[in-house]
């Protein structure tokens, strides 16, 4: 028979198999006490004379003071960018390329330092900032560096020219990576930029200013203005900008679109999502479970393209949910600097409140909640990985973007029904399809109204791969040849 008698002496003594807190050393990064704005190649104090503190969401400890840029400060930054534009855009493109290659190399050289900074300021696990955020950020600069002197091949028959000053606003979920997605193509196309990092995650942008110094980026080509939503509003209202690129919530995206009405300023938006991760009965089951887990618990679910709706074929629902729950129980929530941590801290108290409210709505509306037993740290903001079963399409947790580690499970019977349910949302950023049948992946991909479709995988990003949404998930694409378009005008 297969079963074997276990000898008593082998039973594990309690706590004998334990993952170490394998801490990445913090000393590799040292923050200033206070950071000014980065304008015209220098750190300057804000005219607003206003400062705020950025904290580590995993411990609530203050990390540094940063400037709250007011209208005047933003105007100065835009002015610096305008002044730098004429010389920068007249550099030989091959030389612009070299600056970007340098930035890419420096990001690789300082990758560990920047990854630790990112995990401290934002709360994401070091495993992710080290293995995903930093390598991709460097790769983005590498990729776009190569386009800088090849634009005529990207748009056959058109004459591409830079636009001017690009105003860029990035979110708190992938601070440095989103900065790379914005700045790399903008500079490659000959533009200058004013970038506003998110209020809760300014530090890697400010360290990036130092990278610019090392790379000898000419003063004024890159300007960083820190602050809250009002800073962003000032930036969008500025005279002298030629383009706005925004990644963030759909609500703010709509406000920006309204603000720019009638102003002949090119706009790209990368907004929210409520992606369907669609699992067919003939999938590679254990790998599909990994993909589902990665789809919603990676980066604590703070991902616009997160697979937050699991659409599972009814015939395998029970088996899949069992495996999923078991897999969830091996997720480690804890100190972002611990290399064994899978799920880090929630970025802010405000976000935690939003998640809590929506989860409450889930149970109120009748869905069934499961959370694996999870010891959450005392200080900081945390939420245990959560899955809801018995979810109806009309439930708030199936419609609204939660932006947290919360998965809603729904079922379907046929491919047509899956497509219908997947598309039944105002969003359209991404989708996942799990099946071993190739033709079905392509058939579904054809019909899903989503800008990014992942077949038998999820949350895969590459600088060569265009990313962006349909419908209220935004418009415009970042990455790939197509990502250049937003930063050019054509004669």
């Amino acid at each position: 028979m297969g079963a074997v008698e276990k000898s008593r002496k082998d039973v594990l003594p309690a706590g004998s198999w334990d993952y170490a807190s394998s801490l990445e050393g913090r000393d590799i990064v040292s923050f200033e006490e206070r950071y000014g704005l980065f304008i015209g190649g220098e750190q300057v104090s804000p005219r607003s004379r206003s400062w705020f503190t950025t904290v580590s969401p995993s411990t609530e400890e203050p990390l540094a003071e940063v400037a709250q840029a007011g209208a005047k400060d933003v105007a100065l930054a835009v002015g610096a960018a305008q002044e730098a534009f004429a010389p920068w855009s007249s550099w030989r493109p091959a030389e612009r390329a070299k600056v970007l290659f340098r930035i890419a190399r420096i990001l690789q050289e300082r990758a560990r330092e920047l990854a630790v900074a990112e995990s401290l300021d934002g709360g994401k696990p070091i495993k992710e900032s080290r293995d995903v955020d930093l390598p991709l950020a460097a790769a983005h600069f590498f990729y776009y560096a190569g386009w800088a002197d090849k634009l005529e091949y990207a748009f056959p028959g058109r004459r591409p020219r830079p636009i001017g000053v690009a105003a860029q606003i990035v979110p708190w979920n992938f601070p440095l990576l989103m900065l790379a997605w914005k700045i790399a193509p903008a500079l490659a196309c000959g533009n200058t930029v004013v970038l506003k990092p998110a209020e809760t995650t300014p530090l890697t942008a400010l360290l990036f200013a130092d990278v610019c110094r090392q790379a000898e980026v000419p003063p004024g080509v890159v300007n960083i203005v820190t602050g809250d939503g009002s800073t962003g509003a000032h930036l969008v209202r500025s005279e002298g900008i030629g383009k706005v690129a925004f990644t963030g919530s759909t609500e703010v995206g709509k406000a920006i679109q309204r603000e720019l009405a009638g102003r002949d300023i090119s706009l790209t938006l990368e907004l929210g999502g409520k992606a369907a991760n669609i699992v067919f009965e003939d999938c590679a089951l254990d790998q599909a479970v990994e993909g589902i887990v990665n789809g919603i618990y990676f980066n604590q679910g703070h991902v616009c393209c997160a697979g937050s709706r699991l659409l599972v074929q009814e015939s395998i629902h029970d088996q899949l949910v069992r495996k999923l729950k078991r897999r969830m129980s091996t997720l480690r929530v804890g100190d972002p600097l611990d290399k064994n941590t899978d799920v880090g801290a929630i970025n802010s108290k405000a976000q935690l409140d939003r998640i809590t409210e929506l989860v409450q709505a889930g149970t109120d509306e009748g869905a069934e909640l499961y959370q694996p037993p999870c010891r959450l740290p005392e200080k900081g903001w945390w939420f245990a990985p959560t899955v809801f079963t018995n979810v109806a399409q009309s439930h708030r947790i199936a419609q609204e973007e939660i932006f947290g580690p919360v998965l809603s499970v729904l079922t379907f019977r046929t491919p047509d029904e899956a497509v219908e349910k997947a598309n039944n949302t105002m969003y359209g950023l991404s989708a996942g399809i799990w099946t071993e049948k190739g033709s079905r992946i392509l058939w579904m991909a054809d019909r899903l109204r989503a800008g990014v479709v992942w077949g038998n995988t999820f949350n895969r990003f590459d600088p060569a791969s265009p990313f962006g949404g349909y419908k209220e998930s935004g418009f415009g694409r970042e990455g790939g040849r197509h990502g250049l378009e937003a930063y050019l005008r054509f004669e």
Partner: protein
Amino acid sequence: MTGRRLAVRKTYKLFIGGAFPRSESGRTLELEGYNVARASRKDAREAVVAARKAFGGWSAATAYNRGQVLYRLAETMETRAGAFAAACTGRREVARAIDRVVWYAGWADKLAQVLGSANPVAGPYFNFTIPEPTGVVAIVAPTEPALDGLVARLAPAVVGGNAVVVLASDDHPLAAIELAEAVATSDVPGGVVNVLTGLRSELAPVLAAHMDVNAIDVTGADGDVAALEVLAAENVKRVVRAREDRSPWEIASFMELKTVWHPIGR
């Protein structure tokens, strides 16, 4: 006793499979003040074997990786600019060659986007075309300019994933070996670039006729090119010539195109 210091002179050898062997024939030619190895047909054969062996790994590397490796080659060339300048017409040529390597490095992860396509066929099929490297490429390097002329043919061949066997300029071979040294210290896997110095009139026909070479670049061939083309026909080699100074289509001439179909259905 005067304090005269003698220079330690370099021995210029071949570059095959990542190593620097002498010619198996033991022959040399005195050129540019040095005894330069004079490669034999057997050396050429070994170079092709090394290239074929390296091709699998290099073509399977990600495009991003190839781009980074070539950029690193440019970094290495930059630090050796002085040695290069002494082996060619000077600093301006070196700067051009380095910038050319950077230019081509940036193409690695963009080729498929410019050379490839998704094709709208009239039926429920997903159809796409992608460029793939042809394999082992022989390059007859231009006599002049000794460095940039070689780089102008080498970079487009290698960036797409091919492995190459280069026949250096007859009269000015030192630049090619300096380049080989830069290649050897730049994370380029051994065998991806192989450099043979010697007489091209002796070596070019060997490579043109070699049944395991997939393409031959005759841009720099100043002998009987027609004769090389006849030999090349034996295994339907792709015969390549430069058409532009720099272009993604210079890369394309060393690539094949593969078109794939797959049904779209429930």
